[in-house]
């Protein structure tokens, strides 16, 4: 459940920023000959609606209906009392309530004489919602995940600035962790506290407790920490998700080397291109790459693996998180950083 700070911050993501996104989607809707697009949201599959409205539900679910013209409509079974909260944190759409939001969508579509409705991730839409829509209006449904991905793949300045800010929250929060901690929870408790004190909307922590044995991440706070361990922070801030992994050691010489590697990655990552590859110059001298993957916002997913050594990047993404595992001086190191945050004006010109 999302329970960090959620508020509308006009200085970070303005109404104009969101309206520009809505306009781009509406142009694509018209160009595709559709009457509208429907996007599902809950706090796990929030990214599509967050991008088009700035809103993330803290629990329960809802739909956003984007018609060719006018304000998008947030359709929800949440009560009108919660609706007041929704409006206070997202003044970007109309909020409509019904115990059956699918029926309400059908009614709104009928009102504009809709015949063709695109649905982002149609296969994943809760079946009951689709049944409700069709019970009101026998509209033709089609999957528009590719259309949405193409529109959403274009970065905007507000989003990239938020990615940088969120990564800074994570980087600073790691300073609160005590590398001499005995258990994972002892290290991650103060780190999560720091993330939330910085105003994060959500924070998930996972730990690879002993990299000499296993570099897979788990959530249990009871795990005993080994000589080197990695911590994964997944931080949401104002609708943007960033993952940051750093590797730590209680042995001071190793810890100092790890800090130096981390700082070098911080310098190299923002400008690293998001083209589905990893540059030979990205890792420190002498490092041997073990594994890598790239995550990015995709459809309704805040972050999803979109490329790795075997799978090329299929579509442009607005930004990405590059995770690498490599060995250096006999130690296994895991690191994640946002990439593709280079000069926005250059990216806009290229696009």
């Amino acid at each position: 459940m999302r329970h960090g700070l959620i508020q509308w911050r006009e200085n970070e993501l303005s109404l104009a920023d969101v309206k520009a996104r809505q306009a781009r989607l509406q142009q694509a809707i018209a160009a595709a000959g559709l009457d509208g697009v429907l996007i599902y949201t809950n706090h796990v599959r929030s990214a599509g609606v967050t991008w088009v409205s700035g809103f993330t539900p803290y629990w329960s679910d809802g739909l956003v209906l984007v018609l060719r013209e006018g304000l998008p409509i947030f359709l929800t079974a949440l009560s009108k009392r919660v609706g007041e909260w929704v409006k206070s944190v997202a003044p970007t759409f109309e909020v409509a309530h019904s115990p059956f939001p699918g029926k309400l969508a059908g009614e709104r579509l009928a009102r504009v004489g809709a015949k063709r409705l695109g649905v982002v991730e149609l296969d994943r839409m809760p079946g009951g919602v689709v049944d409700e829509i069709l019970s009101i209006l026998p509209v033709e449904l089609s999957d528009v995940t590719d259309l949405f991905t193409a529109v959403r793949g274009q970065a905007d300045r507000a989003e990239l600035d938020l990615v940088r800010h969120t990564d800074t929250i994570a980087r600073e929060a790691f300073k609160a962790g005590d590398v001499a901690s005995k258990s994972a929870g002892d290290f991650t408790g103060p780190v999560e506290r720091a993330v939330r004190l910085a105003g994060a909307e959500e924070c998930y922590v996972a730990v690879a407790p002993d990299l000499s044995r296993d570099r897979r991440f788990i959530r249990t706070g009871r795990a005993e920490l080994g000589r080197t361990f990695a911590v994964r922070l997944s931080v949401a801030y104002n609708g943007v998700w960033v993952r940051r992994v750093d590797t730590f050691s209680s042995v001071s010489e190793i810890g100092a080397r790890l800090s130096s590697v981390s700082a070098a990655l911080d310098r190299a990552s923002p400008a690293h291109p998001v083209d589905g590859s990893i540059s030979a110059f990205y890792l420190p001298d002498g490092a041997r790459l073990l594994d890598w993957h790239i995550e990015a916002p995709y459809g309704t997913r805040p972050l999803k693996v979109v490329a790795d050594a075997e799978t090329p990047l299929a579509a442009p993404v607005p930004y990405a998180i590059l995770t690498t595992a490599f060995s250096l001086d006999g130690e296994t190191i895991v690191a994640s950083r946002p990439v593709g945050l280079g000069d926005i004006s250059l990216r806009e010109a290229a696009e």
Partner: protein, 370 residues
């Protein structure tokens, strides 16, 4: 192992219902069905568990990182990472042929899964699984009891952190840090800060606590998958007369609700007992859906499971259920107010789980300056 016990109950229920297979959906918001079968606490993406009548469980996850975690955290369950979750599981179901397969929860089942099943259709597994979720085994109830201790300790942390000048989200930071230290992986929590203008709880809005404010919260830590909730209200500074008077009404309503709990009564009976107290004080309007959602609810692998405690819910309360009774609602004099305790239904009545005193807590304003 609790996961094995649940799986055994699930398969027994399937056999009793004559089912050959079950398909159970889950995500981090509504994970109870999936976790019942696969014992995995999913956090990102979505999952489907396929259970066959011989007790074989396969967990399909669309998120690679979650797949990696599942392989470590629940190695006894076969995990498959499937980017095309619906397509993959549809293929598995198709190979089961023309057998009786049920799926749930009905409301969340992906459209593509049902569409590809076509005329064969899924039977609705919702009632079958809901019953297992509501009436728990002895081992499950022990897990619930463990979570209750942390709910009480968590509220003590919350109370100690509350002070004038602090921001609402800073309280959440203290709680979450405490829970991570204690190995609690999840917590459902909402908060309200202020006076008569506050009509409910939500995630923090960045409000600064000031003298006279009511600070309401629901804390719901999750231990080994099981949630327990506590609802309390505190005042920054000394409570005023109206706040004391209203607290008395909510405390009476909570005690009235708890007094009714025993096997054989209905959820409606509990709600009615709570609401009658409000009606006796001329506050009947404030127990309607315009001002409040439920008067309590079930607890377990989901923080807001069935039965919902409402005057129109006729679900019979049974031994082995775990519930929270909470007469939370808006009060026109002082604002939204919460007060509730979790319990296990035993043959002789409720076993109250949360031990935090039923008080209107006062947080000294002077502590704030410190």
């Amino acid at each position: 192992m609790i996961g094995e016990i649940r799986k055994k109950r699930l398969v027994e229920a399937m056999l009793e219902a004559g089912l050959d297979g079950l398909v159970l959906y889950g995500n981090a918001w509504q994970n109870d069905y999936l976790r019942y079968a696969a014992d995995f606490g999913i956090l990102e993406g979505e999952g489907l568990a396929v259970v066959t009548r011989d007790g074989d469980v396969t967990l399909y996850l669309d998120d690679e990182l979650e797949g990696e975690r599942a392989a470590v955290e629940c190695p006894e369950v076969k995990t498959v990472i499937a980017d095309d979750l619906v397509g993959t599981v549809s293929g598995v179901v198709a190979r089961l042929g023309n057998s009786r397969i049920a799926a749930g929860p009905k409301r969340h089942l992906p459209y593509g899964l049902a569409a590809r099943r076509g005329d064969l259709r899924f039977e609705d597994a919702t009632a079958l699984v809901d019953r297992l979720l509501m009436v728990k085994s002895a081992d499950e109830l022990n897990a619930v009891r463990s979570a209750a201790r942390l709910a009480d300790e968590g509220y003590a942390v919350f109370r100690n952190a509350a002070a004038a000048g602090k921001k609402d989200y800073e309280l959440i930071a203290e709680i979450e840090s405490f829970f991570r230290n204690e190995g609690v992986d999840d917590n459902f929590m909402i908060i309200g800060v202020g006076g008569p203008e506050v009509r409910g709880m939500a995630p923090p809005l960045g409000k600064v606590l000031k003298p006279g404010d009511l600070v309401t919260t629901e804390l719901t830590p999750c231990v080994n998958g099981y949630y327990v909730q506590i609802c309390r209200t505190l005042v920054i500074g000394e409570p005023n007369e109206a706040q004391r008077k209203v607290f008395g009404i909510y405390n009476d309503a909570l005690e009235a609700g708890l007094a009714v709990v025993r096997p054989g009564v209905t959820a409606a009976d509990i709600a009615r007992a709570e609401n009658d107290i409000f009606r006796a004080h001329g506050l009947g309007e404030y127990v309607t859906s315009e001002y409040t959602r439920v008067r309590g609810h079930g607890l377990g692998l989901f923080p807001d499971t069935k039965p919902h405690i409402l005057e129109d819910v006729t679900t019979v309360i049974e031994e082995g259920m775990s519930l929270i009774v909470h007469p939370n609602t808006y009060n026109p004099e002082i604002g939204y107010f919460v007060h509730g305790d979790s319990l296990i239904v035993r043959a002789d009545g409720p076993e109250i789980l949360t031990k935090t005193p039923r008080e209107l807590f006062s947080v000294g304003v002077r502590r704030a300056a410190a």
